[in-house]
Each structure stands twice: as C-alpha cells, then as structure tokens.
Assembly symmetry: C2
Homo-oligomer: 568 residues x 2
C-alpha cells in the first residue's frame, strides 16, 4: 500500500511544496502541446504573457502576500473535557486520541479559498479539540454513541480536501468537537473478481486503490482534481464526480454498497446489482456529508483497465456552437469518457498560460480558421480498441457537422498530463495578491446557457472594484443526456482589507443567480457549510424536513457534523 501523504496546513500538496505527480515526463517540444506550469515561484509558474494578461485584465499588480508561519497560527487550547477524553482513550487506546496542536491543525477545515485565507492569516478558530482514529465499524459506532452521550460533536476527516466548508465543525450549541480521522480504516478488505466489486475502508485514497487493483488489470477510474489526497469515503459522503465521470459514471454510480455507523446503530446499505425493495436508502447515505453518521466501509464497482486511451482537442467557433455540439453528442449517447469544453475566456487564458511556440502556433492556426475567439474542447476516449474507434468516428462526424475542427492530440495529452495541477498553482496566485476560487453547478441543456450568463454577470457585478473586472473562466466538465455541469474559476484583485467579505458577497450573488436561472446548488462539490443557506431553495422546505426527520432518527442529539448540509 503506497504512503498516503498529508496535505500541508495552509495550501495544497504534501508539506507545502509542489511534488509532481504527472504520469509522463513534461513534453514541451514546441509542436502544439499546451503546458501549464506550476511552481513555488509565480514568475516560473506563469509565462510572462499570462502574467501580463492577468495584470491587464484584473488591474492587478503582483505583490508578495505570503502566509504567516505555521508556528504563528493561533490555536485555542482543546476544550474536550478530560472525562470524555478518558472514555475515548478507554475505547480506542491512548495512541488514537490526540490533542496536540499539530494533530489538530492538520485536521482543521478543508481547502476552500475561505479555508486557505483563514489559515494563511493564522486563524485556526475552527480547529477540532481532538483527533480520534477508530479502527473499524464497531469502534466507530461505539465512539459515536459515546460522543452522543457526552455531547461531543464529530466531524469525519478523510483527505481534508473539501472546498465547501465540509469540515467546518460549526455547532449552534458550541459543543466541543473531535475530528474522526479515517486513516486507520484504509485497507482493501475483499475483491470479488467475477462481480467486479472491491470492498475497502473509507480512509483509502484513489492512488492506493489503483495500485492495489493494477495487478488484476482493474481500475476504479475515479479521477477528481483532488485525486492525490481525497479519500474514497469522502467521495461517497460528498457525491463526488471525477474527470472521467462522463464515461465511468459519478462516484454515486460506482458505490454498490456501504456501511454507515450512526449514533443509534449501524446501517448496511445497497444490494448489488440492483433491487426494487423499497426506496433507495443507499442514496440517503451518499451525500450525507457526515451529518447522518460515518461511512466505515465501501463496496465499489471496478472495471478492466482500458486497453486503449485517446485524448484529443477540438475547437468550436463559439460557446453556443460548442454547447450545441456536446448536446448532439449527448443526445445520441456519443459523449466521450472525458469531456471538457472551455469558454472563450478560459480558452484564451489556457493558451496564454501554456506558453511556448506550440501554443503560439495553435493560436495562429485557430485564428486562421475563424476560431480566434473560439472554444477548445478536450475529449478522452477509453475502452476496447474496436469500440473506441467506432465511438470516435461517430462522434467526429457529429462534431464536424457542428462546425468543430480538430485541434490535435497534443492538446488532449497536455491537459491529461497536468490534470491535477490547478490547486498547486492557486497557492502561488494567493501568494501574489489574487482572489482565486471556483464554483460549479449543472443544468439541463436548455437552461445551461442562461445559467452561464447569469453566473458571469453576478460575479462580474460583485467583484468589479474601481472599474477593474474579475476574470471568469468557465468550462463544461461533465456531460449527460439531459444536461451538463459548469465549472467556473474566478480570479480578481484581492481586497486585502476584507478578503473574506469580498468573496462571501460574490459567492452569494453568484449562487442566487445560478439557482434563479435553473442550475443546481452544486454538481460535485457538495453542500458543506458554504451552501447550507441555499439547500432549502434546492429541495424545498418539506425536503429539508424529510432530511431532518432522518437525521433525528439516526443522530437525535445532533452531534454528527452539525455545521454542514442542513440549515440551522
């Protein structure tokens, strides 16, 4: 089992410096590949043209705004009562109940822009009072019962990669809180080869599972941007989607069953391959974000490693043409396994950030074909060679009918090589005085253009200061027959006096706008603390009451991650 490195406390990556996890060696030989560089130093992380573009668009002057030293982060003493601690030690052993500063800091919050701002400013007021590490379902259930009895809040902790405040630990009653670290439950428990099912602990991460499956020629294939650090239990608790989810399915689709330990007992959910025995209770545990209990085991669908993979780029003259092209593919079940359509602003930014003669040449070619303000589409195909060939041909014909032109294999391969790097780059941009955050939604094909316009308008309105507008880069990252997701990256000159308020106002406007336009509150980031105020708009007051009734039955004292999902 490979080592599972912990995220640095104030940013992305193990230990605070970038460690490359790319599959292939860098490849920038100037013939069309798009390289997105990310390094501790901004000037080497971004080509000069990209820096100039950002400075011009945002009215931003790169400046050094470093994080405080980790040793200077303010941490209040643990509030866990000694008798509660002693009871936990009696249950789990001294070595599995930690109250030292470093253990607590490492399980403080997630990795949203707000989390990073707080940690960079030296604020750890949301730290847990202790870190507990149960070893199995029975210990977890006993621990939850103990915490319910003693009024201690429990926040499950996997990889710490939440970007929606999923680990906020907020509690209306201000009770002491423990982070329940899943790292001792990270083993592979069973592999049922004929049924393509693997049983794992929730603390296992994707790379460890892929390594364990490789000798059998199998893969899970779930590849979100957080792949290096996020846990399988976290994927289930947040209804994650990966970069190849258009093909392999959302994480929901990969979960055949799971065990949920709650303060009032243990639920065994899911009956593969399928059942009609009443409502789907497995679907209640997926997306429960720790608010109903702790996922202690998962049964996942695996598949043969694809015998062939092909990544390639296409270009559309406009965003509308790109969306129409994807919609036609979707309608005929011809979507690739990976699909990623950038809008004109993201396309321009990506080409500038790529730098190098290859990108310059590609830009010239696209301009020559009238695609100077166009949209790049990255697609990836995986599977049996004969089927990939047939699907690619059929899709290519649909894309060409929609006015798309090929942008080459290197565009696709370059994206693939750098697929996990954006969070590393974000740290460097934060160091230099920028606001950088993402948000995401999904909508039907009919509603998607309206949602896109609404979100851009709202962010532009909210983040424009003294005539300087933000840069809003968008792409479709997952396609479905009925619609698609929309992923938005926003960059702006940071308001160093009130950076948190600056983003909260923008997030509020953007969320109101996307909901009003018909988008969902979140396509794959979950609700967390950040989206709680809008949950009722998504599922209605009675929907919230149904969830409350379920929570009341499983967690009557409300100790399970009370800061997320359900509004107060």
């Amino acid at each position: 089992m490979p080592e599972q490195p912990e995220l640095t406390i104030q940013g992305w990556g193990p230990g605070g410096s970038r460690v490359a996890r790319v599959e292939e060696a860098p490849d920038d030989d100037g013939d069309g590949s798009l390289e997105l560089q990310a390094d501790p130093d901004l000037s080497s992380a971004l080509p000069r043209a990209a820096r100039r573009h950002l400075a011009r668009e945002l009215g931003w002057t790169p400046r050094s705004t470093p994080a405080v030293r980790v040793g200077d982060i303010r941490l209040a003493p643990s509030r866990l009562p000694e008798d509660a601690r002693a009871a936990m030690v009696a249950l789990l052993g001294e070595e599995n109940v930690a109250t030292d500063d470093l253990s607590r800091l490492r399980r403080t919050g997630g990795r949203s822009y707000l989390d990073l701002l707080r940690r960079r400013e030296g604020d750890a007021s949301d730290a847990p009072d202790a870190v507990v590490t149960p070893g199995d379902t029975a210990e977890t259930a006993a621990l939850l019962a103990l915490c319910a009895e003693r009024g201690v809040v429990v926040v499950p902790f996997g990889g710490g990669t939440s970007v929606v405040g999923g680990l906020s630990g907020m509690d209306a009653d201000d009770r002491p809180a423990v982070a329940l670290d899943l790292r001792r439950m990270s083993g592979l428990h069973d592999l049922d080869l004929p049924s393509s099912l693997v049983t794992v602990g929730p603390g296992m991460r994707g790379p460890a599972l892929e390594e364990a499956l490789a000798p059998e020629g199998l893969t899970l294939g779930h590849l979100p941007q957080s792949f290096e650090f996020a846990t399988l239990g976290g994927y289930a608790a947040t209804r994650s989607a990966g970069q190849a989810s258009t093909g392999v399915g959302r994480f929901d689709d990969l979960v055949a069953g799971l065990t949920l330990a709650t303060p009032t007992g243990v639920l065994e959910l899911g009956h593969p391959p399928a059942s009609a025995a009443g409502p789907d209770l497995l679907g209640l545990a997926l997306g429960s974000e720790g608010a109903l209990g702790v996922i202690t085991e998962l049964r996942l669908r695996v598949r043969p490693k694809p015998r062939t993979t092909a990544y390639e780029g296409w270009s559309f003259r406009s965003w509308a043409a790109g969306l129409a092209g994807l919609q036609r593919l979707a309608r005929h079940d011809l979507l690739p396994d990976v699909v990623r359509l950038s809008d004109p602003d993201e396309t321009r930014a990506n080409l500038l950030m790529a730098g190098g003669p290859g990108a310059t040449a590609l830009r010239a070619v696209l301009r020559g074909r009238g695609h100077g303000e166009g949209c790049l589409l990255v697609v990836g195909w995986e599977g049996l060679p004969t089927l990939v060939r047939a699907r690619r041909r059929a899709a290519a014909s649909v894309l060409r009918e929609g006015g798309a032109v090929r942008a080459g294999r290197r565009v696709g391969e370059s994206w693939r090589r750098h697929r996990f790097e954006a969070p590393y780059l974000r740290d460097r941009l934060l160091d230099s005085g920028l606001l950088v955050e993402t948000l995401e939604t999904a909508a039907t094909w009919s509603a998607l253009p309206v949602v896109y316009d609404a979100v851009r308008r709202a962010l532009g309105r909210s983040l424009t200061r003294a005539g300087r507008r933000p840069l809003v880069l968008s792409h479709v990252s997952h396609g479905y027959p009925t619609g698609a997701s929309l992923y938005v990256t926003v960059l702006a000159d940071r308001n160093d006096d009130l950076p948190i308020q600056q983003w909260l106002a923008a997030k509020r406007e953007a969320t109101d706008a996307l909901l009003a336009a018909g988008g969902t509150l979140t396509h794959h980031h979950a609700v967390g603390a950040d989206h709680r105020p809008w949950l009722e708009r998504e599922i209605g007051p009675l929907g919230v009451e149904v969830l409350r009734a379920v929570k009341q039955r499983l967690d009557p004292t409300g100790i399970c991650n009370p800061g997320v999902l359900l509004p107060d």
Copy 2:
C-alpha cells in the same frame, strides 16, 4: 392520445379475451421461428407436445376450473362515511367520486396469482370503498389532507398490474379506503427537446407516451411485460425494470424528477442532469409504492428511436457456461440492450411450446452440437448502426470464446414478437387447474448460481405433492457489471382445496432461501404486501426505522397505502 383500455377484472387483457399487440404479423413458416401461442382455449394455446410435457412432468390432468361469473363476485357495501364522500365530492366533483360496484371491482387488487385466485373464486373482500379521480397535483394534495383528517386510507391506482399485492389496501386499523385512480392525470405536459426530457402525468401508459414521442423520432424505451396496461407513475412507485433495461437502464434511471403529493405537502424532487446537493431524495420517492404519497407528475429522459435493431439467439452447452458468458460480457461493458438467458428447463419448455417444424429442426441442430440440454440466450441490440455493429462483433467474439453457438435471428425475433404474451397464457393455464406464478430476484455474479440452486430446491421441496414435482423455469432477464437478475416461473398441479395456502407456503420457502443465498427480495416487482414480512431482512431494522421516520413526517396518520412496503 390512444385509448387506455382497462384490464379485465379476473385476468389479463382488455375485457378478458386476448387482444394481440404484436408489432409484426405472426410468422410461423416453419423455418426456425419459435411461436408461443396464447388463446382462450388451452388446446390451441399449447401444442400437444407441450401439454404432454406439462402433464408428464407435473402429474397434472387438464381439467376445467373456470372463474365464477363477474356478477357473482361478492362485494361488501361501501364503508365510506357519507360526510367523507360529500367532502370529496365538494373537492373533486360528483363525477370523480364513484362508489358503484363496477368501479370498485375494477380497482380491486392487482394481478398476482393470489389476486387472480381470489377474484376467480368470487372474493373481492379487498375492494376499495370508493374510487376517486383527482385531476392535478393540487387536487391530489388537498384530497390527501382531507383523507388524513377523516381517517380514510388512500391506495393509488394506475394500471392495476401489481404482482406483489401492491394494491391490497390492508390497514391494521381497518379504516375505509379509497382507490385514487390516476387516469385523469395522464397527459403530456412538456417536451424539452434539447434536454431529452418529457414531463407527463403519472396515469399515462407506455403506449400512449411512445405514440406521442414517435413524431419527434423519440422513445422512452421502457418495455416491461405489463407495458400495455401499467402506468408511468406505477413504474416509478415500484422501481420497475423493462425488457430492454440492460441497455436503456431501469426506470429509476429514466426518472429525472417527479412531484410527490403527500398529506403534509408537496415535494418537487430531482434536479437534472445531476446534483451533489445532499442525499438523493428522488430515490426515496422511487419505490415508495404509495406509502409516502402520490406521484402526480414525472420528468422522464427520452432518447432517439434506435436507427437499427437486431435480435438474435445463441446457445450455451450449460447454465454455468451461459452465466460465465454473460459475466464476461458484463465485465467489459459489452452486454446487449436486451439479454435473456434461459436455463435448461425453460429452454426445453420454450422449444416444446413453440412447436412447429422450425423448433423441431432447431432442437435437432442443438442436440447435434452437444447442446441438447443447453440454454438459449436471446439478445437484442439497438442504436446507431456503426456502434451496434462494433458492439455485436466484440460480444460475438466473447460469446464464442465461452463456447456459445449462434441459434439464429429468428429465435430473437420470435421472442420479441411475443414479449408481452405470457400473462394471457397464464389465464388459460389457470382455467385448466394449474398453479402458475413468477418470482424474481437479483444477485452478484458470484452469488447468482447459489441463489438459483436455492430457489429451485425450495420450490421443489414445497410444491412436490405425492411425488409430483413442480416445473421451475428460470432465466436471467437483466444484466449489470456486478450481477444479474433471475426470473423464475413455477408451474404445478394446483391444490384445489387450499390453493392460496399452497402458494403462500412455497413463496415463503423460496423467499427465505433466496435471501439466505444472497439474493435481493425483489429486482423489479417491488415489495407490496407480499414481500413486507421480509423487508427488514433486506434493509435491517434500522433501515426500516429510517423509512418509518420519513413516513411519519410525510404521512403522520398513516393513510398512504398502509398495506404495503413497511411491516406492521
């Protein structure tokens, strides 16, 4: 909109006689097609060889056991209090509140073997006290509130095709009950072409929807055996699967959203294309069987009508070889859109029932290749011609590696032509003194052979009388990467003194056996009244408590179909 004929009161089909709904004209020119005949008269419904086979295997002598005349069915007077009736009339209008005998009889129970036995014997003790037909969501919600206030049980009624006692109307408190007929809510409300979404009323049936979609070149593609009579709302409430569900997905997969009217309010569920905004509440409404409220609108995913379809037969030497072949297809995502693997007993029975020189010739060919005790596999491919061709070729190579041999196109086409006919034949067999019932389950590929053996043993044990064994015919009807469904038809000499007890004992033994072996309680028939006693074994006591908590919130007085789903 096509006429929606009502089912006859004591059997299958409109008005009690068979009406052919086949797409093509019958085609029995003796060159290999397998014809399954069904007629009012058993001697014309079954070829002599099949009758002889049944008589020999079952120790059964065909005898006339006709149903009582409809006019002789015993029906107690309506118990609906006059003030409740008046309130319903005030809400819905006189024409939408019926208490006459025929209206009540037509909404009595479903079409399980037990339902048919009762109705054939003249027992309608489970009849509703009235039939109400609200016209929209608001009227339905108001009616539910009214019934909650007055203590009147509500049983939603779609096509009346439940085979698990879904319409039993049983109530521990023995309150009066109304059938809430959905027929006034059967319109097409919206068609969002770019998003491939259609919005319909729950009382619409498959044929009507297909007719409405045809001009747009679209199809829903959900084709269960009950296709002619079942409603779209019923499919959602019972988590139906259709004959092509391996390809197009279970009905669950086709529901993008729905409206659920409950006694405490209306839920709007589902957010296409996908959402991560908390647990999946849509999945709570699917399979809720009327116990949480009434589905009053559905948003369904449609798709282009397939440009090509190809049905064909294959043969395996043994059941084990057949299962292994399907499992290999499933592992590589090469399963056809329709897949139907019959075990040796069902294969033999089907070939005998087909009769004619074509079937005789096919039997001889299969014997000559060592497949005399083999298993027939019917597969169907649908979609774009180039993709169907690539998938068929890849699958054919996997099937041949597994020892399968082609049995020809006519085997597939004949199955397709007669796909909805079995329930008509059942009526004729019931007329002749037979016990005929089906049950179904699903299991992982690893567990499936064990489940198969266990169910056959249990049925054999329970239904053997005086040395005469039942005939147990099984097939896999739906494939998944992780496992498959198993559909079992059982025939036996009926115990005319205690026919209900005879089947209840067999059902109990078979269900205990399949659950112990790792099967699910039901793959696509739902829980109803018949499977209620076992729900706790499937989802655990805490799972049942979670469902009770949801029901308590939405239906605090327990008026919503209290006879199904949740154990008393």
